[in-house]
């Protein structure tokens, strides 16, 4: 049976490997040059310095400047990172969806499933092989992207928990890839054609990923709040790399007066016409800035939860696919 699976998929495997190699050949030089610049600008020291609470304001300013310089130079690469987000989905489309659908579409399932080993064995070997290959690819992708994207995330304020960068690195891509493949396989058992299966995979993958990302991920752990006065030195009691979920300015009674805004005035500065700072927005004396955030050190916890969710979904989908295969003829 493994002989059949290997013979069927070896060309596809070769193309996948070539694709990976080309991608690596493009990304690795960029990654290396990005890291050189990162070191040359003294940013590793800055990251260490800014992670301490007693950082001197002068150092902080210099470092912000250097980060800015780095981001200006390499910030466009964030776009490349967004493009790479689709890789797990492509694996689902081209490895998952055709696995059963192609056999059924061409009628070869009637050949394969009437051989001595039976279709359950057939499905187990095929699923096992594809899951093994995609896990391996996803591990390489996750590790590679962690390495590649880390200068960009360190330079960006929101850090590794932010949208897109969170999805690119660590173990989460393993969950996404397995989910995409399982969704593809399951979609392939629903109809008798490959193209609808690919469409279902595409829509389903984007839908579930977006739903988890927007609706579930901010709530994996209770978010923390940070508060600091409007009239003050603007020192934010948060760390670089914290993931800000929402923010605004609240009056002393807790009422939100300026959602999605932050106001900082030096203590003795007055607004236009001698009014208190921010009075035109309805900010009363004693108002404070408010932020809801997930601390950056929860990165691995969140990665674990996210990966777990998608692996569980993948397991359910594979089980359903096995059940569906028993009903196909």
């Amino acid at each position: 049976m493994i002989a059949l699976a290997w013979r069927q998929h070896r060309r596809q495997m070769l193309f996948t490997l070539i694709g990976f190699a080309v991608l690596a050949a493009l990304m690795i030089p960029i990654g290396i040059s990005m890291r050189h610049t990162f070191t040359d600008l003294g940013l590793p020291e800055c990251v260490r310095a800014l992670s301490r609470s007693d950082v001197a304001p002068a150092t902080a300013d210099t470092c912000e400047g250097a980060f800015h310089q780095f981001t200006n130079r390499y910030g466009n690469l964030n776009l490349v990172a967004v493009l790479l987000l689709v890789l797990p989905m492509l694996v689902g489309l081209f490895w998952g969806a055709p696995l059963v659908a192609r056999e059924v579409e061409q009628g070869t399932h009637r050949f394969a499933w009437t051989q001595g080993i039976g279709r359950r064995h057939w499905a187990m070997v095929k699923f096992g092989l594809v899951v093994a290959v995609t896990t391996l690819a996803a591990v390489c992708y996750g590790l590679g992207m962690s390495w590649w994207v880390s200068p960009l995330t360190q330079a960006a304020r929101e850090g590794r928990l932010g949208f897109v960068v969170f999805d690119l690195q660590g173990v989460a891509p393993i969950g996404y890839t397995l989910f995409a493949v399982a969704l593809g396989i399951f979609a392939g058992t629903l109809g008798r054609r490959m193209l609808p299966a690919m469409t279902i995979t595409l829509v389903g993958y984007i839908g579930v990923r977006a739903a988890v990302e927007v609706l579930a991920r901010p709530h994996y752990q209770p978010a923390r709040t940070a508060e600091f006065p409007v009239a003050g030195d603007g020192r934010v009691p948060m760390n670089r790399g914290d993931w800000i979920l929402s923010s605004g300015v609240r009056n002393p009674d807790g009422k939100m007066v300026a959602p999605d805004a932050q106001i900082v005035c030096p203590p003795d500065v007055q607004g236009p016409g001698g009014r208190p700072c921010g009075a035109e927005l309805g900010v009363q004396p004693g108002a404070y800035n408010w932020q809801l955030y997930q601390p950056g050190d929860r990165f691995w916890l969140f990665q674990g939860i996210e990966t777990g969710i998608f692996i569980a979904l993948a397991a359910v989908l594979l089980y359903l696919a096995l059940r569906r295969i028993r009903r196909l003829a």
């Binding site: 049976m1 493994i2 002989a3 059949l4 013979r7 069927q8 061409q106 009628g107 070869t108 009637r110 050949f111 394969a112 499933w113 009437t114 051989q115 001595g116 080993i117 039976g118 279709r119 359950r120 064995h121 028993r326 009903r327 003829a329």
Partner: protein, 295 residues
């Protein structure tokens, strides 16, 4: 007498439509049986049930006394060639022989290679590039190399030209004669079946119309020509299968069970005439209402 394939009240439904209903018959081991019926009669459904691809919705089907659905223990003993002989088109014939061997325990790879060599099938060409007849031969060789006790063939010759059809059936007969394999072969080409089959299952509109050994069927039916018949019983006639009338005369195809009333002129019938008589039976009238035309 060992029974190779047995169906009992077997039924399969797609949505609300029964593709096969109340299907009961026995196929004794060692027979070469034809499965006849027009397109859509349920032939493929019956074969898929017999090879365990489909689960029955009613009744049972047994292959050497075991239910085949989802039961891999039956599969090594059943050879199956599906309609249009689906094979992995980018595989070569040699690869197919090698890889199919890995999926079967009772495999005789030498047999397959010998057959294919004899038929002049190129071993290193993707089977997608072979002619339809050659591809059918590859599929048959793979099924025979399993050394099956029951061989199920779904319209194996439908897409072949007359010469390839004859060659295919000849080579099939040659191999099963040696091994004593039971064969169930579906087709809507009556002439082919008449040449090779010694047993017959006639399906029409999801039901079994006729089952039996070919010689019994031919011997048990007669064409009667006589005076205008209005449905009264005739001595020696068990049942009238099909009747056509003119004003003064009736021609009947009847199942006989004794000496027929001498009022009737009796003619022998061919297998084809018997089959056609039964296929005319049970045509649905519902379509008249659906088309909104008078029946």
């Amino acid at each position: 007498m060992e029974i190779a394939l047995e169906a009992e009240q077997l039924g399969k439904r797609y949505g609300r439509r029964w593709a096969l209903q109340d299907c009961s018959f026995q196929l004794p081991a060692g027979r070469i049986a034809g499965l006849v019926g027009p397109n859509g009669a349920g032939k493929s459904t019956l074969l898929h049930l017999a090879v365990g691809l489909l689960r029955p919705d009613a009744g049972t089907v047994r292959v050497f006394d075991r239910t085949p659905y989802d039961n891999p223990a039956v599969l090594p003993e059943v050879g199956f060639v599906a309609q249009d002989t689906p094979l992995y088109r980018d595989f070569t014939a040699a690869e197919l022989v090698r890889i199919t061997g890995r999926m079967n325990s009772r495999w005789d790879g030498a047999l397959a290679r010998e057959r294919l060599a004899q038929l002049g099938i190129p071993p290193k060409l993707p089977v997608g590039q072979l002619s339809g007849g050659q591809r059918a031969q590859v599929a048959l060789a793979l099924a025979l190399a399993k050394r099956p006790r029951l061989l199920l063939l779904d319209e194996p010759v439908a897409s072949l030209d007359p010469l390839a059809r004859r060659e295919f059936l000849q080579s099939l007969m040659g191999s099963v004669a040696e091994s004593g394999t039971t064969v169930l072969l579906s087709s809507h080409l009556l002439g082919d079946l008449e040449r090779v089959c010694d047993h017959l299952v006639v399906l029409n509109a999801a039901r079994v119309r006729l089952v039996g050994a070919v010689e019994d069927l031919v011997a048990g039916h007669r064409q009667l020509v006589g005076p205008r018949h209005r449905g009264e019983p005739i001595t020696g006639v068990e049942a009238v299968v099909r009747a056509s009338h003119t004003d003064r005369q009736s021609t009947l195809l009847a199942r006989v069970d004794g000496v027929v009333d001498p009022e009737w002129t009796v003619h022998d019938v061919t297998l084809e005439e018997v089959i056609l008589a039964y296929l005319g039976e049970g045509e649905t009238r519902a379509s008249h209402t659906e088309w909104e035309v008078p029946a």
